[in-house]
């Protein structure tokens, strides 16, 4: 019996760490999609970009791991602003198809660019000592890196929840997601709000990309490989919902980890099966608006 309990605890722990990665990377996508209804398939490219920045900062410039995460996230957040201003903005009123094509084109270009500079071989990052090895929580030891991931994720959830629910800007974002026209007519500058959330979301994606290196290794194809996963989290959670994204990330992270433990050959089958079932029952996701 204690054996089963050990397995369940490891699955929950690993699943939770995985869910935090999914949440951090997808939350920006969810909010920007909820705000503008923009299908952004280049979101994974920003995550990948952040990951490579972290690799360069740590390997070439010798910056420690945690500061380079922060620097990469900030840098990618700023880099994403001109993309939003000059490319995305032109297509807000266009069809889904045109948005899909533009952003897939951007994703391809970014993959090619990073392959040119970094090559197609998976990269890793040097971790500080306190992130290697295991951490003992009294009743058993857990891998430190995953524990770190959970702590970062929990911290971000708290900050985002506060920003979303308790600040003026958060209230404006919620209003604009609910009813964009109404929000504009009471004087909220939705365009600027969108640029802000887009930059924030891309920065968070970059942070997620940096955190993912240790988990999956980083190649340029990360941009498309994990994109489907982020989109699934967003669609299952419901557009523009913080709560929904968190719930979807938890459900998918934990069930996928458990599924891969029980049936290793099934791969991502569980994730896709959940997605199909959830979307058929609730097409707008857990907390989306129909």
């Amino acid at each position: 019996m204690p054996h089963v309990a050990t397995i369940v605890v490891s699955i929950l722990f690993d699943g939770l760490a995985y869910a935090m990665f999914l949440f951090i990377t997808s939350v920006g996508l969810s909010v920007t999609m909820g705000l503008m209804g923009f299908v952004n398939l280049a979101h994974g490219a920003f995550a990948m970009c952040g990951g490579f920045f972290v690799v360069s900062l740590t390997r070439s410039l010798g910056v420690p791991f945690v500061p380079s995460l922060v620097i990469a996230a900030t840098a990618v957040g700023f880099i994403s602003i001109p993309f939003e201003r000059y490319l995305y903005r032109q297509l807000y009123k266009s069809t889904d198809l045109e948005q899909v094509l533009l952003t897939i084109g951007l994703a391809f270009m970014s993959i090619a660019t990073f392959t040119y500079f970094y090559g197609p071989i998976p990269k890793s990052v040097p971790l500080p000592d306190w992130l290697e090895g295991h951490i003992n929580l009294g009743f058993r030891a857990f891998p430190s890196y995953r524990a770190f991931l959970i702590v970062v994720g929990a911290g971000l959830i708290a900050v985002l929840w506060y920003a979303f629910e308790r600040t003026n800007i958060g209230a404006k974002i919620r209003a604009a997601v609910d009813n964009r026209r109404m929000a504009e007519s009471v004087g909220i500058n939705v365009d600027r709000l969108f640029t802000l959330t887009f930059a924030l979301g891309s920065g968070l994606a970059a942070l997620g990309g940096g955190l993912a290196i240790q988990l999956f290794g980083l190649t340029p194809s990360f941009a498309v490989l994990y994109l489907v996963l982020f989109l699934i989290v967003v669609a299952v959670g419901g557009l523009g919902s913080l709560k929904g994204t968190l719930l979807a990330a938890l459900v998918i992270g934990i069930i996928d980890t458990g599924g891969k433990y029980a049936f290793p050959v099934a791969g991502n089958l569980f994730i896709y099966a959940i997605t199909v079932v959830v979307l058929l029952i609730r097409p707008a996701g857990f907390y989306g608006r129909e």
């Binding site: 533009l102 391809f108 270009m109 993959i111 090619a112 040119y116």
Partner: protein, 343 residues
């Protein structure tokens, strides 16, 4: 008063009907430039006798893009999982030949079309109630589910290593396959001609008009009492069947198939081909597939990285400047030049 109104409406309705019928029939006539792609395809058979395997691949992609054009270009259904049906067709033929000993090619592609069509009807019935992101995600997830299921039973499907060395009977028991794939090329061309005739009939039929109506304004189609969901499911099943036939041809001409046919990349590729050629215009599929495959063949040997960058850039430029594809660009510029000449 009411009676006289209906009296007046009666003959007018007749007139309107006649005009609509006349419009549909006039669109249905063949025009001479339409022979051009076919003549080029036949000419290629004589000019490039040693590149016929590549030629067959182009023809398969044309058919695949044509099936996507039906749902994307005419009905406005955005799917990023169309490779699902291509893969179903590919595996129906492959498994039929390897596990059941069913290696007659023509009945094989018909079976592939039927199976893929049934899948399309069932899946479409569930999925096509939704639009936008939800539909997009469902199409992606469906293709991915098939791929993972195939990988789960890699003892049957061969997994990502694939099923090599498939053999098929000679066509009609007469024409065997030669080393250069010339038989394959003519076989694929004939299949494409049949499929194209069928698609063209659909597109210019009243059913095709209804699809265009759904693409342009769903609400109005609902309002005039068009059975929108039924029409969408029907066209989705037809497109799925055609994609299945294309997949079957792919397997037969390559004698080899792996689970990568279900890849997201494959779904994205066929969409890119169609977009570059131009959607909703039938020949966009021909143009897009030929140009894309030739460029890919050339540039990906040179440098796959530059090829990927180029195709991305092409997509971005197409969305920003040529939303109706290269053929649309031709039309626009000729219309522009025509206007300039007149005054």
């Amino acid at each position: 008063m009411a009676a006289s109104e209906t009296m007046a409406v009666g003959p007018m309705r007749e007139q309107v009907r006649e005009r609509a019928a006349g419009f549909l029939i006039s669109r249905h006539h063949y025009r001479w430039p339409e022979a051009l792609p076919w003549l080029i395809a036949i000419a290629c058979y004589f000019v490039f006798p040693d590149r016929m395997t590549f030629g067959s691949q182009v023809l398969v992609m044309v058919m695949f893009a044509l099936s996507l054009d039906l749902i994307l270009g005419y009905a406005g259904i955005v799917s990023l999982g169309h490779a699902a049906f291509f893969g179903i067709g590919a595996y129906v033929v492959a498994l039929g030949s390897l596990r059941l000993g069913w290696s007659e090619p023509i009945s094989g592609i018909i079976a592939a079309g039927v199976v893929a069509g049934i899948f399309g009807a069932v899946v479409g019935w569930f999925m096509l109630r939704y639009r936008g992101l939800t539909l997009l995600m469902l199409t992606i997830a469906f293709a991915a589910t098939l791929q993972e299921s195939g990988n789960l039973r890699s003892d049957i499907t061969g997994g990502y290593d694939g099923l090599p060395g498939l053999t098929f009977d000679p066509l009609f028991g007469l024409f065997d396959y030669d080393l250069y794939g010339r038989t394959n090329y003519l076989y694929a061309l004939a299949a494409l001609a049949v499929v194209f005739y069928f698609v063209r009939r659909i597109v210019y039929s009243p059913f095709g008009q209804a699809l265009t109506g759904i693409r342009e304004n769903v609400r109005r189609m609902h309002a005039i009492g068009s059975p929108v969901h039924l029409r969408l499911v029907t066209v989705y099943a037809i497109a799925a069947a055609i994609a299945g036939v294309a997949g079957a041809l792919f397997t037969q001409t390559n004698a080899y198939v792996t689970l990568t046919v279900f890849d997201f990349d494959n779904s994205a590729k066929v969409m890119v081909i169609l977009i570059l050629g131009g959607t909703g215009r039938l020949y966009g599929a021909f143009f897009g597939a030929a140009v894309y495959m030739i460029l890919e063949d050339y540039f990906s040997k040179l440098s796959p990285t530059f090829w990927q960058f180029g195709i991305g850039l092409l997509l971005v430029l197409a969305v920003l400047f040529a939303r109706r594809g290269v053929l649309g660009l031709f039309e626009d510029s000729s219309a522009y030049l025509g206007k300039r000449k007149k005054p």
